[in-house]
Amino acid sequence: MILIWMLCILLAGGILCWLAAQRQPLLARWIALITVSADLLIACWLFPVYQAFPDNSSWFINYQANWIPALGVSFHVALDGFSHILLLLTYFLGILAVLCSWKEVRERTGFYFFNLLWTLAGISGVFIAMDLFLFYFCWEIMLIPMFLLIILWGDVRRHYAAYKFFLFTQAGSLLMLLAILALYFIHGQQTGNYTFDYFALLQTALTPSTAMWTMLGFLIAFVIKLPAVPFHNWLPDAHGEAPTAGSLLLAGLLLKTGAYGIIRFVLPIFPQAAADIAPWMILIGVAGIIYGALLAFSQTDLKRLIAYTSVSHMGFVLVGVFSFSSIAMQGVVMQILTHGLSTGALFLMAGMLKERLHTRDITKMGGLWTSMPRLGGMAILLTMASAGLPALGNFIAEFFILLGTFSNNPVLSIIATLGLILSAVYSLRMMQKVFMGPLISTVPVVDLSARELIILTALSISIVVLGLFPQPVIDTVHHLSTIHPLLHE
């Protein structure tokens, strides 16, 4: 029930923002802030509950209500450690998103925050939905507000970006819908019980070929969202053109829904098919790592650059998931978290620079360290995080993933490891172009304001903490090693 409340708070908050802004525009952001913080508090409050919970059944909240009984659709939400961590991430980044649009968004504040909150609602719905119909529902819900965010508050080429984003993801999700239906009917014909319930569908027995096709339906949707080469093309445009908060949510959360989907649905429902396709997926992942890194290196638009780095980083996720090693699986979860934080932070940084310099072109920047030492220091930390420096969360993630993959697939793992070199190359290039060298921009730039400092500090601290004390996370998602037979042998 508490989960329903979390959703309702967000939805209601969103509408409230919209209404409030009609009279008092500034009110909206406060409402938004309060709403998300409330959810974050609830999520945090759940944490001890989870720790206290006996580990044998990992689903410590499980709420089910009838929705469309005629179709066997039920409003079934449940929470396990994995979803819980993702919820925490969602609300944490949500707060930062609200904060970072505090000043940036001037017109139609109410509607803006409405979209922001509804996106968050959709995302958290995706993370807790245990009914495939509901899952698909939320999966779609989070798109539209995001689409509006991009198309209304985006940058110059926002229309192109928004269409691309929507069409790509929609193509994937329609395939997924088809797959869900196929699963639904197969299960129904087998058991006579037509239901969309996740736990019921887990028991579906599929012939290899059907399993493969159905899985592809799911997989393509998730891989587009992740995104993996060659389905990544929507990402740079969407990230580049979206408002700062939009990029933050995209990079920090929307991409993660893809990873979540693969772990939650593809692996458990289609164990055999997943195992069969694994080598190709790892290949795609590695390709993504290298290709993304190469592209990131050549970009001159700061946000596009960061976008391509996340293509590269998400490649690690794909590799980790399909290497079927529990170390790698832990690494994937860490990667989901830390990449969300670090890349989000980088986008915030880009946004702050854009606010000051009114450009995203790094060739027009340079030497900013002198004028904004605070941001410079932060930037070092963040670039190093994305370059996978130890003592920062990303290192733990990538180390686990590569270590786990190595035992199963040494060659590809080694190639993936080369990504570490490339990541160093592009991170340093970014650092250098923006902060080092002689001061280029003529406009006088001021260093971080208190608000911005708080945002970035919060992110940096959490990255460092994840790097030095990853064990709580690892324990929380430990049960993931049971989702696939290959994982716990």
Partner: protein
């Protein structure tokens, strides 16, 4: 005592935090106090610790302290925990002690700089990371320190980031070492796959049972680790970053690129000695790499004109000696050379820094000269350092360590005449360029008028270092002369003793040869750069010599090679694919549907008769379908 272990790295870390967070608001004195103070205290603690360690060694042979549980997942358990055995002890002492001296020196040296706080913050962070590196009890933590020092070196090389050259050097350093690191981490993966642990004592213990000597697996691991070492320690073929790294302030060069960080490779190999011993091939490769490097770098050092680049190349070649020693199995000798080298090379850099400061940032030695009178302290200390570098017999520490290596290069288990020959040549070259350095910088007529002389804060550390550059050698005498081997005694608690070959001429022969060679080197240096013999002068001008000189000067054209082989292709690929090829596909789809749209719109031409035709087409289609089926 061991419960205070954590203080040693913690204090510098604290210093870093304070300076980086609050540095902007502190007075320079306060910054200096924190920056240098933290290191000095941890140096004191280290000295107490080592005193304690030496008089009553712990029965396990190591002080250990678990700070907190880092992570444990599926058999990979890592703690943030410290472990100090006698090998680590040597390194800690050097790091903290020399670190402290250099920090004190920097107080005066960096006084005028804008980013005083940033400098000390980075330096402290470096010391902390370096300490973690050598005190780590598991390889993941070691890798943490390993990358940490890399970061700090990047930050400090690019400390004056406005000048393009500096941050390029910084990037170059980071990337090239990163290549080595990547090899190393792959090595770690392999190690974990084979042994199922990364806890160093376990690794060493299990390796012996798990691997048969010379097994492929262990060789691969050893070579990968070696690559890591090569990267950090600037050995061939990854040495090109170190000379450029001199873009950083002199104290940085002294601490990071001479005394401590660059010797991390040595530490790693010594730490993993079991692995290396299990694979003779890897040992040989190590030795060869070391030997070749020391010769190549030495040649380059001979012809450089920038004082710091000379020292940089000489550092490379000295580390080459260490690798050579480790490679042939003369473990303690290698570590001992690190020990002595740390003192005199730090000394040389600091002194050079002082000279450069005094001469208004003049780096070219041929624009210096005649400083003997004007700055005597610098002169004497520098000379002592150079002498130690040139291994002047008996009076300098350099002699004792290098002599051992020369002798082992042939006589030790993995030794070989060729290695010995190369080492010998290296010794000659070293002596030569040390002499050249002294003569050109301090003798002759004055070419640049010196500014204000270095303050006492800078000179005192120099003197201390100078003293150690002489005295450090006395704790380990050649066996045949005087039976004092405190150092190897201590180190061999951890490292295996050196096995000697049979049937070689007596050690004294080698020593004499070495002494003679280095003396010849000194003399030839004198005659080349100070002597007036016209013959030599015109020989120096002869085209062949000049071309060879250029070749050496460019560091054997390694940079150009890599530029052509790697950098340019990389840039080319990235440039042509800037706007993502794969995007074309989707653009094509969009265009096709737009094209279709135009085609179909034509059918909507408003003509009723055409619409009727449409209906006709439909019915015809249906009928044909009927006839087909």
């Amino acid at each position: 005592m061991q419960q205070y272990l954590y203080l040693i790295p913690a204090l510098p870390l604290a210093g870093f935090l304070v300076l980086s967070l609050a540095g902007r608001y502190l007075s320079r004195n306060f910054i200096a106090g924190i920056g240098a103070g933290s290191i000095c205290i941890s140096a004191l603690i280290t000295i107490l610790l080592s005193a304690r360690f030496l008089q009553s060694p712990p029965e396990t042979g190591a002080y250990t302290q678990v700070l907190w549980h880092w992570f444990s997942v599926e058999g990979l358990v890592s703690n943030i925990s410290l472990r100090v055995d006698s090998l680590s002890l040597v390194f800690i002492c050097i790091i903290t002690f020399i670190g402290a001296l250099i920090h004190i020196y920097s107080i005066a040296f960096m006084r005028e700089d804008r980013d005083y706080a940033r400098f000390f913050a980075s330096m402290n962070l470096f010391v902390c990371a370096m300490l973690m590196l050598v005190m780590a009890d598991n390889l993941v933590l070691l890798y943490l320190g390993w990358e940490g020092v890399g970061l700090c070196s990047y930050l400090l090389i690019g400390f004056w980031y406005e000048t393009p050259g500096n941050y390029r050097a910084a990037n170059k350093a980071f990337v090239i070492t990163r290549i080595g690191d990547t090899a190393m981490i792959i090595g770690l993966f392999l190690l974990f796959k084979e042994l199922g642990t990364l806890y160093i004592p376990d690794v060493l213990a299990r390796a012996t049972q798990h691997f048969s000597s010379g097994a492929d697996g262990v060789t691969l691991i050893a070579i990968l680790l070696l690559c890591g070492g090569m990267g950090k320690s600037a050995q061939l073929p990854l040495q090109t970053w170190l000379p450029d790294a001199m873009a950083g302030p002199s104290p940085v060069s002294a601490l990071i690129h001479a005394a401590t960080m660059v010797t991390a490779g040595v530490y790693l190999i010594a730490r993993m000695h079991t692995i290396f011993e299990l694979s003779p091939v890897a040992m040989q490769i190590t030795a060869i790499v070391g030997a070749v490097t020391l010769f190549v770098a030495g040649c380059s050092a001979m012809v450089q004109t920038d004082i710091k680049r000379i020292l940089a190349y000489s550092t490379i070649s000295q580390i080459g000696y260490m690798f050579l020693a480790l490679g042939v199995g003369a473990w303690s000798a290698g570590i001992f050379h690190f020990f002595t080298h740390a003192f005199f090379k730090a000394l040389l850099f600091l002194a050079a820094g002082a000279v450069i400061e005094t001469l208004h940032h003049e780096h070219n030695i041929f624009k210096m000269g005649g400083l003997r009178k004007t700055m005597p302290v610098i002169f004497w200390t520098f000379t002592i350092g150079a002498a130690a570098l040139a291994a002047l017999p008996l009076v300098t520490a350099g002699f004792f360590s290098k002599d051992q290596i020369l002798w082992y290069a042939w006589s030790a288990g993995g030794g070989h005449p060729v290695l010995w020959a190369l080492a010998l040549a290296g010794a000659f070259i070293t002596a030569l360029y040390s002499t050249r350095l002294i003569l050109v910088v301090f003798w002759g007529e004055m070419k640049t008028t010196p500014g204000h002389l270095p303050s006492r804060v800078m000179t005192v550390p120099l003197v201390i270092l100078a003293f150690f550059s002489v005295a450090a050698g006395w704790i380990e005498w050649p066996h045949n002369i005087l039976h004092v081997d405190l150092f190897s005694e201590e180190v061999q608690h951890v490292l295996p003793a050196t096995v000697l070959k049979e049937g070689l001429p007596a050690e004294i022969v080698f020593q004499l040869i070495a002494v003679v060679v280095s003396l010849i080197g000194i003399y030839s240096g004198y005659s080349l750069y100070y002597g007036q013999s016209p013959l030599l002068q015109q020989w120096k001008q002869s085209p062949t010599v000049m071309s060879v000189r250029d070749f050496f000067f460019s560091g054997w054209r390694f940079d150009q090679l890599y530029d052509a082989l790697i950098v340019r292709p990389f840039l080319f690929i990235t440039r042509i694919n800037k706007s993502d090829i794969s995007d074309k596909l989707y653009t094509a789809i969009a265009n096709v549907s737009m094209l279709l749209n135009r085609q179909f719109s034509v059918t909507q031409n408003g003509s009723l008769r055409w619409y009727v035709t449409g209906v006709l087409i439909g019915i015809l289609f249906i009928i044909t379908l009927q006839l087909l089926l």
